[in-house]
């Protein structure tokens, strides 16, 4: 059995792909990096819209954001600040629950509200008890073993690594678990209270073994998150930042990688393109009005702006990016675009004599392109055309030195018009990784500079 080094008790090993514990403040509970949160304009295409900032949505967003996806999370409720919004009082915590009326029926229905659903960033995990047991291997085979329900199509062993990863990230504190697949937890067990110790003693007297169950509550310092203080209000939102919820376990990291949470925005409808059956966006209502958020894969540059009315774009022509970069930079800062496409260099960088000259391209990178990538929250795509007769995209060395990645585009349909070029994707933040893609131009490059590009392959699938 492989035991990750992080599972050694007392280890200081922290999750490798989640910096959230360090992005929190030691003295304030609210998120400290909200001022760095991306703000995508309403019409900007994003890769993924997540409805609900809960355990599933935020965790998914955090991982995909690290893979370069642009993500907006719509959340009906507010952005909680535990210092300001949460109280050590049951009745005063009613705002944490999804209290919109749902109709229940049957002989013994589950009562909704505080029992099972949350509202606001962090979802129901803000007020769950913290209990985080693993499934047992036998739980996946209840049909085979017990003749009830159905077997799962996957086994415990498919999920084992995921259990280990999330137990490290929350982190989970508990006694070594002897049943099912025996395993350990990153933090040791918490002390038990009076009532539990009576139960423990009673069980011992009956010859029954008990274990202190796993809870996602720090039992030790974890990054900047403090030790639990045993205040007893886990179900009212942890004012200590000791109990896990995605608000503190995954969102701080997700924000660093460009995830925007749109709080107080309730999704009302998923928009479907009737012709293709594909989802095109999500309609939501915020406190004042309703709005539609365009959903568009960032990588799939094949959309035609004329056909996608939801995509607003401003076309610049005759901009001297080399000598007057501040002009575009000012606009870019004001408009807060998600994506800046610099295409047809000879038209937008009038000072450029040759796209194939390394020295000139280097100046263009330094003065015109990199500042846009750095100063705005936008990704920059630079389309660099070179002669098809050349041995390769010349002048690209300077681009390669600064670009996150360089992708060759080949327009293959009409050999006589065939061009080679490079599509360079600049990360909007140095830490952002973009998924590797290869693209192929499926049609001619339009007069306005838009190319029809079809994504053909994702070398590094974020899943």
């Amino acid at each position: 059995m492989r035991i990750p080094e992080s599972f050694v008790k007392g280890s200081v090993v922290m999750p490798k792909d989640n910096d959230s514990p360090y992005l929190l403040d030691m003295h304030e509970r609210g998120l400290q990096n909200l001022d760095r949160m991306a703000k995508y304009p309403l019409s900007a295409p994003v890769d993924l819209v997540v409805v609900g900032a809960g355990a599933g949505g935020v965790t998914l967003a955090q991982r995909l954001a690290r893979a370069g996806w642009r993500i907006v999370i719509l959340e009906k409720g507010p952005f909680w600040d535990p210092d300001r919004d949460w109280v050590s009082d049951e009745k005063g915590s009613a705002g944490l629950y999804w209290n919109d009326i749902r109709i229940i029926s049957g002989d013994d229905p589950i009562e909704m509200g505080k029992n099972n659903s949350g509202v606001g960033v962090g979802g129901s995990m803000t007020h769950f008890a913290g209990y985080t047991p693993r499934f047992h291997p036998s739980d996946f085979e209840v049909k085979t073993r017990d003749g009830v329900a159905v077997d799962w199509p996957i086994s415990y062993w498919d999920l084992k690594e995921s259990f280990e990863r999330i137990e490290l990230e929350l982190p989970v504190a508990g006694q070594d678990w002897p049943w099912g697949d025996p395993h350990s937890y990153p933090h040791g067990p918490h002390p038990i209270a009076g009532a539990a110790s009576v139960a423990w003693q009673g069980a011992r007297n009956c010859g029954i073994e008990m274990r202190v169950g796993p809870v996602s509550i720090t039992n030790g310092v974890f990054g900047n998150r403090p030790h639990c203080i045993y205040r007893g209000f886990c179900l009212q939102g942890c004012k200590v930042n000791a109990k896990a919820s995605p608000l503190i376990t995954h969102l701080p990291d997700a924000i660093e990688y460009g995830v925007e949470v749109r709080a107080n925005c309730m999704a009302t409808r998923v928009e479907i393109d009737e012709a293709t059956g594909r989802c095109t966006g999500v309609t939501y209502v915020d406190e004042e009005n309703s709005a539609q958020l365009a959903l568009q894969r960032f990588h799939a540059l094949g959309y035609d702006p004329k056909k996608h009315a939801a995509l607003e774009y401003i076309w610049y022509a005759g901009v001297d990016l080399l000598n007057e970069p501040e002009k575009l930079l000012e606009d870019a800062q004001e408009l807060e675009p998600a994506l800046v496409i610099v295409d047809s260099l000879s038209r937008v960088a009038l000072g450029i004599k040759s796209e194939n000259d390394n020295a000139e391209m280097s100046r263009l990178m330094k003065l015109g392109v990199i500042p846009i990538a750095r100063e705005t929250n936008a990704g920059v795509v630079l389309v660099h055309h070179t002669s098809a007769t050349g041995t390769g995209p010349r002048g690209a060395t300077a681009i390669r030195n600064s670009a996150d990645q360089v992708i060759s585009i080949i327009a293959a349909e009409d050999k006589t018009k065939a061009k080679t070029g490079t599509l360079n994707i600049f990360p909007s933040k140095p830490r952002r990784k973009t998924a590797h893609i290869a693209a192929r131009i499926t049609g001619d490059i339009e007069a306005d500079g838009w190319a029809r590009v079809e994504r053909t392959d994702i070398e590094e699938d974020p899943f």
Partner: protein, 243 residues
């Protein structure tokens, strides 16, 4: 004249005009703070004395609940009259001081706050409350003897009320709606915390003593209430023939 300390008259008497009312059996009289009817198992425990240890937002919420009892805005005067008697019977608040539970129920209904669900065969909670008031009026609940009121509430709890308004309601579910509101109002009030010895808010100081009976020392925080009346509530109520 000097106080006779063998009698309880030297203790602060906050029982109101009905001070002739005797504490039930040997329940101690509350000496610090307020409990409903000024008796309880923790006579020297007042949770509100701990308010200085709470974080500011919690302190504001809890003290506001005690100091600023909301006005009646949802129920009519007649409904208040009926439902107050009903609430006092089911919560056994038979003397002052009483936790003004109906004011908190009224506030929640007036503000349109709900608990996130409704049974398919029930009207909205506000309509349920109005029908309960009508049903109680039809039985002239207010003017029944206390014994009959208690018996009526037992039938209510068991869903055994028929005729009139009760035929338009799932009675046992109406009872669960009423209890959900009333118990939340009662036990969210610090006076009830005094009565049951609840430690209340514990942020930012938390707990370091967990009440383990196996530890010889430091079982309880120093500020937690001391029980003056050690009795198993199950055995006690059985002994008294209350179950």
């Amino acid at each position: 004249m000097a106080h006779d300390f063998t009698e309880p008259h030297h203790l602060p008497n906050r029982r109101g005009p009905e001070q002739s009312h005797a504490d039930p059996y040997e329940l101690p009289r509350q000496r610090r703070g307020i409990t409903p009817q000024m008796h309880g198992r923790y006579p020297d425990y007042d949770i509100l004395e701990q308010a200085g240890h709470w974080d500011e937002v919690t302190r504001k919420v809890v003290l506001d609940r005690v100091d600023n009892v909301p006005e009646i805005r949802f129920f009519s005067t007649e409904e208040v009259e009926t439902l107050t008697v009903f609430a006092d019977v089911v919560l056994a608040q038979d003397a002052e001081p009483r936790i003004p539970v109906l004011a908190y129920v009224d506030e929640k209904l007036f503000e349109g706050k709900r608990d996130g669900y409704r049974y398919f065969d029930m009207p909205d909670d506000d309509e349920t409350w109005r029908r309960i008031a009508r049903g109680l009026d039809e039985a002239d609940f207010v003017h029944l003897s206390v014994e009959d009121q208690v018996a009526y509430c037992h039938r209510f709890a068991n869903g055994k009320l028929f005729g009139g308004v009760w035929d338009t309601l799932n009675v046992s579910r109406a009872w669960s709606v009423a209890m959900r509101y009333l118990l939340q109002a009662f036990y969210s009030h610090p006076w009830s915390w005094n009565e049951i010895g609840f430690g209340g808010p514990a942020y930012p100081r938390g707990y370091s003593r967990f009440g383990s009976p196996h530890l010889q020392s430091a079982e309880r925080e120093t500020w937690e209430g001391k029980q003056a009346y050690e009795a198993d509530p199950v055995e006690d109520t059985q002994k008294r023939g209350l179950e």
